[in-house]
Structures are given as C-alpha cells and as structure tokens.
Amino acid sequence: MGFLDIRNVTKSYGAVEVLHQVDISVQEGEFLVLVGPSGCGKSTLLNMIAGLEGITSGEIAINGRVVNAVHPSKRNIAMVFQSYALYPNMSVAQNMTFGLEMHGVPKPERDKALKDVAALLQIEPLLDRKPGQLSGGQRQRVAMGRALVRDPDVFLFDEPLSNLDAKLRVDMRTEIKKLHEKLKTTVVYVTHDQIEALTLSTRIAVMNGGYVQQLGTPQEVYDDPANVFVASFMGSPSMNLIPARLRLNGQAAVEIADGAGQPVALPLTGTPGGAQDGDALLFGLRPEALTDTEGADRHARNIVTFRNPVDVVEPAGSDTFVTTTLGGKDAISRMRADTRLTPGQTCDFAVNMDKAVLFDPRTEQRLRLT
C-alpha cells in the first residue's frame, strides 16, 4: 500500500466512461507524472484526487485514509493550477495565506509559514503586490508558494508550466525539480509535454483514451515502451516505426525495404515468441539508434550498417537530423552536428539493434524477444 492509492478508479459522465479502471500506487516522496494528449483523462484523474470531481467507482486513499467522500479542503492536498488561479483582489501574501485562514490557523503561525515559504521561493519583495502586477514567472512562483504554505500530504500540479514561454518553462522545470529534491514531498503532476514528464518524474503514467498505457520509470517508458502509442508519444523526434517482416530461416531477423525498395535484413538478438516467418511487424527505432557509422554507440553489441540515400538534412545545433526512406516511410536519424551530408547523397547508416523494439501492427502491442 502506498502513500497515495488509486484503486480501480473509473469515471463516467452519464453513460460515457472517460476513465477506465485506473490503478496506481504512489509512494511517499515520489514524483508521479500523468502524461498524455489532451482528452486522455489525466486532468480528470487529477481533479478526482483533489476531490473536485466525483469518483464513479473505485477508491482513492491518501496516507491510508479513503477520501472518496471527503471535501477537497479536508484531504490535506494543495494544487497548482494551469492558470495559477490567484485571487485577483488579494495581495500575494493574502493569496498565500488564504487557505490557512480558512482552516482557522492563527495569524502568527500564518505569518511564519508565509515568511518561510517566501524565503524559500525568493518572492519576499512581491508579497504586497496584486497578482495583476506580476509577470508570468512570478505568478507561477506565487501559485507554488500558496501550495507550499499549506504543507500538504500531496501536491497536485495541473499543467503548471504550459502558460509560460519556452525559456522560462525550462527554468521553472529545473526549479520544480530542485524544490522536490529538497523537500521530498509527494507530487502528482499533469502535463502533455513528454520532456517535462521525463525530466521531472520518478515515475510516469502515460495515458491515452482513458487508459493508463504504461506506468514506469522514465527510463522504462522511454527504452521499453509497452505499445505503439507510448513509443511514439514519448521522445522527440519520436520513434521511427518502420513496416517490416519477420525472417526466421537462419538467424532471426527483420526485413525492411531500403530507399530503393530492396530488402535489407537486420539480425535480431532473439525471436519474438509465437511469431511465424513472414509475419508483418512494426520495427521501432529511436533516432539515436539510427546514426552515421562513427556516431554509433561503442558499447552496443549488435550494430548493423547499410547504405541508403539521404532525403533531408536538418541541422539542429547540437545534432543534425537526417531523413531517409525506410520501409516506404520517412525515418529520422540523429547524427553528429558536424555531419556533412547533402540531400541526394548516399551514406552509411548504423542501426543499434540492442535498442530496437518490435510491435504487432494489428494490436499495436509490444512483441518481446525471447
């Protein structure tokens, strides 16, 4: 049993079920990120933890206490909202202590908590201002401060960085991470940004269509995706999914068509259980597992090279992304920044088969090698 338990929780609006049998257990001090495209049910789930939406079936327990019927204010949670939800008529200090006031905490204690948190977040100079006089980043800090002052069991974040510009978002991301490492609080964080999910979390729940598609550490979710959705949603540029066929005569291999339509065999380190020779597959390859030969991972055990024409070259500063055609589709290769290639040229590509993953194109589920 964890610190925050979500047990078989479903949510329906009328006859429509929008969340199906969600089961997540969060340990104390964990940073759980719920990530997925809009409409996947992640915010609904967060609101249910907060008590802002009812639970159709199942249970949510915080710190061992089932809270299904407990008012939001009595769950000992705090929430940071996407729009920050600062009360426009109150000063920063009043905003931050409003919750304590509502809970009947005496003024001296409120002031002390306020002072501590303001110092922690370095927002002391802002305390007398109104939210309207703050910049986006400052509002974000105040919203976090309002949550911190409460010293809750669980922090809930609802896309807190999505209203900030790109640079500030990265800075605040680091700041949230630092804060979590310092305070070791339990966090549930909702975002649609997979980079935020990977950088911040100790565990990620990837959601789609009201289902948890995969629950695991960032590493597991990235390297070992459970299905096509997780594979393509996590990572940028996203994983190449190349139509391929399984070959089992001789060494097990996947066969893909190169740029000229000729078959290329890429030997596998195992065989997918129950598969037959000639079965159609989706061959998943991260851009960093498809490189130029010098850029290939030296520790990899199984590197295959082949020649293929270059279609597009996109320098991105620290890397250069090269598009080539595999299996009749664009495949993106991540190469070193100093790569000198031009479109139309043919070059050697190295495939790190250790990192390759296979999916059943019909069920879109992962096929594991044995």
């Binding site: 299904n68 019927a69 407990v70 008012h71 009595k74």
Partner: protein, 292 residues
Amino acid sequence: MTDLRTRFQDWLPRLVLSPSLAAVLVFVYGFIAFTLYLSFTDSRMLPSYDWVGLENYSKLWGLRHWHTAIANLGIFALLYITICTAIGLTLAIFLDQKIRGEGLLRPIYLYPMALSFIVTGTAWKWFLDPGIGLEHTMHLWGWESFEFGWIKDRDMAIYTVVIAAVWQSSGFVMAMFLAGLRGIDNEILKAAQIDGASNWNLYRRIVIPLLRPAFLSAFVILSHLAVKSYDLVIALTGGGPGRATELPATFMYSYTFTRNSMGIGAASAVIMLMTIAAIMTPYLYAELKDKG
C-alpha cells in the same frame, strides 16, 4: 461517509437558488397559466371561474378595436424595426470611420434610451402638435403652407408613434451595431482591401454579413419592445384620436380594467405572449444550447 458539512455545502447552492426559482415559477409561469385560464372564462370586472371555452377568443377577433390594434401593431412593428435598424446601422458604420468627436456624438445618440417613454411621449406630443409645435414654428418662420398634423389625423397618427419610438430606440441599435463592428477582426478588412474590394463592396459583401448576430439581436429586442409598447402610446396619443393608435397592449389594459371585460383582456394578453414567444423561443433556445 460524507460528513454533514460537505453534504450541506453540496445542497447550499440549490437552496439559495430556490427562492428565485419559486418566484419565477409562481409570478411568471403560474400567472401565465392563470391568465390563460381566465381567457377561457366569463370573467368581467372580477375573475370568474365559469368555463366558456373559446368564446372570448371568438369575441375578440370579432371586435373592430382588436383588428385596429393588430393592424396598428403590424404597421408599427414593421416600420419601427426597419427604420431603427437602418438608422442604427448607418450611424454605426459612419461613426466607425475614425470620426472626430465620436465620444461626444455617441452619448447624444444614446441618451433617449435613458428616458421614460412617458417623457418621450410628452415631448413629442407637443413637438408634433400642429397648434404650437413644428407646424406652428414653420409658419412663424414664414413657411405658411407647411402642414404636419399627423398626430391629429386618424389615418396618420400611428406614424407619429413610430417617429417617437424610433427617436427613443435607434441610438441603442446603433450601439449594438457599433459593438459588432468593433468586434470584427481588422485583418479581414485589410485582406479584403488587398483583394481590391471598394468600400461599398467591403461593407456589402464582408462587413454586413459578419454583423449577422447583431442583426438578430436587434430584431429580437426591437420586436419584443414593439409588442410590449404601451407607455408611449398612452403618453403620446392616449390611443387616439378616437381609437386610431390602439395597440394590443393598450387594448388589453382598457378591456381588462376600464371596460370590465377581463376574459377578453386575458385572451388578448395570451395572444401577445404567443407572439413574443414565437420570436423569442428559437432565439433563446439557440443561445442556451451554445452556452450549455
């Protein structure tokens, strides 16, 4: 499980809303039902509960006064809505041309809206009186043949109601259109100009079609005001000369309260309500569906 305070909080909003709902249900819908019922009874000076079926309605449609009132309402509503819309739209488009003094002109166009119809009626009654008003002034200024005696003329008096009503409401329609114009994305206008549209075409083909919501709102507001019009007629003409400017609203009042034919008065009120409901219901339904 649920603690008492939480459950109370859940019901509190409905509890606070309920007196308003009850008031509306009784004083609006209950009263409508009561009036509807009276329209099927032989109520005269006091409500009676003797059912007479559709007799009041057939009597009503046999009354010359009612026909006058309905015909007047037709003329009045048509002209009032058309003229207000035309003036409102013109003024709004003109005011939207970076006019110097817009801040001064706008309140001048709008202030009649703040006045009571009784005040408007009093002012125009006198202004249109041939003996002392406009006609008299023109004579004094040397235009001896000028004649403007509509207010005393049975056939023309209804048009003086239109004039006064337009004076009162057209500025408001202007404000509605102006808000609509200011809401149009300037880039659309720029794009149309780059496409080579003349000002005339710009307005005819792009701007006016974009003002559709403002037209609809203006129509709904003006038509319901037209059906409800009562005070203005009372103050301007008193329904006269004779009964020449009777409208359904004044008809209802006089049959109910001074002619002791409450049943017929109720029937006329029901017909007024039905007229307004026919206009409002689709509009309100669409609005509510939008906002759900």
